[in-house]
Symmetry: C2
DNA sequence: GGGGAAGATTGATTTGGATCAAGGGGCGGC
DNA sequence: GCCGCCCCTTGATCCAAATCAATCTTCCCC
């Protein structure tokens, strides 16, 4: 029952203290590693950090020393322009890594903020780098995560550059749905952990437009939405609208 | 004199056959490597490839086995949606790497096409991977390139999500100008190797809008443009318009 | 449990850039 | 050297989403 509510932490801080029994190990760095390698990885991922809803994990300009693997909760990351304007670039779920864009330049070019009470593993990058040098499978996994991230970004560019407002929102809903599904949650019912303004910002729209789209999608019986709770009623039509076959959703 | 025309190949196929004396080594994989390591890198980058203007370097769906380092010329890369719609995601100049988004999935999710007659180094990724395992500095350089790429993409997201048409074009001009400057060419006069339609597609606009903006920028004495030749007349105002202080241009 | 603030919805109006349409110019191929 | 195609430019009109404005709702804090 509680498993149907992905907006709520799926593991508390007491459980899953090691990679070996972490509930998101299939989606995180350990994916594809043998037990022996996972044990080594575990040596450097001992430190955990709790971040309360609305608090920053890191800020733009902070020195880069760690990557962060999300254990529970969710985050948004965003870049800030010289004029203070902000663009949400990413919503991150358990098993995903934050801070990859900070390696070159040794300082975080974006910030990350918890959307709900969350917990992360702290990965000191210098140690991770050293370990990857000895463990080719980990190396490959790091490349894979970087590469996957680039692929995703390209699909978001398509969304922002070419797609209408309704297609953008449909694509986001399908994307989040499939990411929750991968984590063992319901693909059809979930709680969006971010406010409408963040969704709008991410999609290059305004909160008003997003709100109107939710209303319209409900009239068209595509979804049922009550505040941040969402139920997808017609996955086929919504996917069609999103143009999801090889685009945004990808193989998530 | 010829140096002022970066749209034209800066090295022909006969010269610069090794990383050690390649004119873009400061911008490419060898950056930060000692001579011994560059020699090792050279062993696996022997193969060159010529790509004529308009021809593909690789297509979406092609199996991934190589990265490509641009020696001369330029490329666009783009993703194609299920409905055939295309989004240009990147313009690539000498010293830059193509194909990074193909590692995960082992197949190219985007395609790359030469904008002018171009030449690339073929980097078999399995060999590069093996070498990086032995050479930490190369490893670091690969991370750095991935990370830099992610950072750039975030800035383009800001452009497409939040910026007006004139700001987008100004940002692109400033960005290309600074990239040419890094390569030793004039920052104020250059030849755009891509047609207006590609610029428009990349910026999430139409060719008509881009054309009108060039006209307006000329009236406002920001640039002088004749077809694909561009001269930046007022870098300060253009940068202001682009909002370039920590955003798109970054530290390029 | 009540007050307040932030977030969400809905409506009216405006507008930036798309779309539709019609030339004009440069360059590669023959 | 000329033809034809592609690319670019310019103009007129339209429309999707922004903006402006006014509630309504939720839930957090006291």
């Amino acid at each position: 029952m509680c498993d149907d509510r992905p907006g709520i932490s799926m593991t508390d801080t007491q459980t899953a203290v090691s990679c070996g029994n972490c509930s998101v190990r299939r989606l995180c760095l350990p994916a594809g590693l043998c037990q022996g390698d996972i044990d080594k990885l575990e040596q450097i991922t001992r430190k955990k950090k709790i971040v309360k809803a609305g608090e920053p994990l890191y800020r733009a300009g902070d020195a880069f020393s760690n990557l962060y693997a999300i254990r529970s909760g969710s985050f948004k990351s965003a870049v800030i322009a010289a004029d203070g304007d902000t663009q949400v670039t990413h919503f991150a779920l358990p098993g995903e890594l934050l801070g990859l864009d900070a390696y070159s330049g040794r300082c975080h070019p974006s910030y990350a903020e918890a959307l709900e009470d969350s917990s992360v593993c702290v990965l000191p990058f210098s140690q991770l780098e050293g370990l990857a040098q000895q463990v080719p499978a980990l190396q490959a996994q790091i490349y894979s995560i970087f590469s996957e991230e680039l692929k995703q970004e390209n699909n978001i560019l398509m969304l922002l550059g070419k797609r209408s407002a309704d297609t953008r929102l449909a694509a986001l809903l399908i994307n989040i749905s499939s990411r929750y599904a991968r984590r063992g949650y319901s693909a059809s019912r979930f709680v969006l952990s971010m406010p409408r303004t963040d969704i709008a910002n991410y999609l290059g729209l305004t909160a008003e437009t997003v709100s109107r789209l939710f209303t319209r999608f409900q009239k068209e019986k595509l979804v049922r939405a009550s505040g941040r709770e969402v139920e997808i009623l017609d996955l086929v039509s919504l996917s069609e609208l999103a143009g999801t076959h090889c685009s945004y959703d990808g193989d998530n």
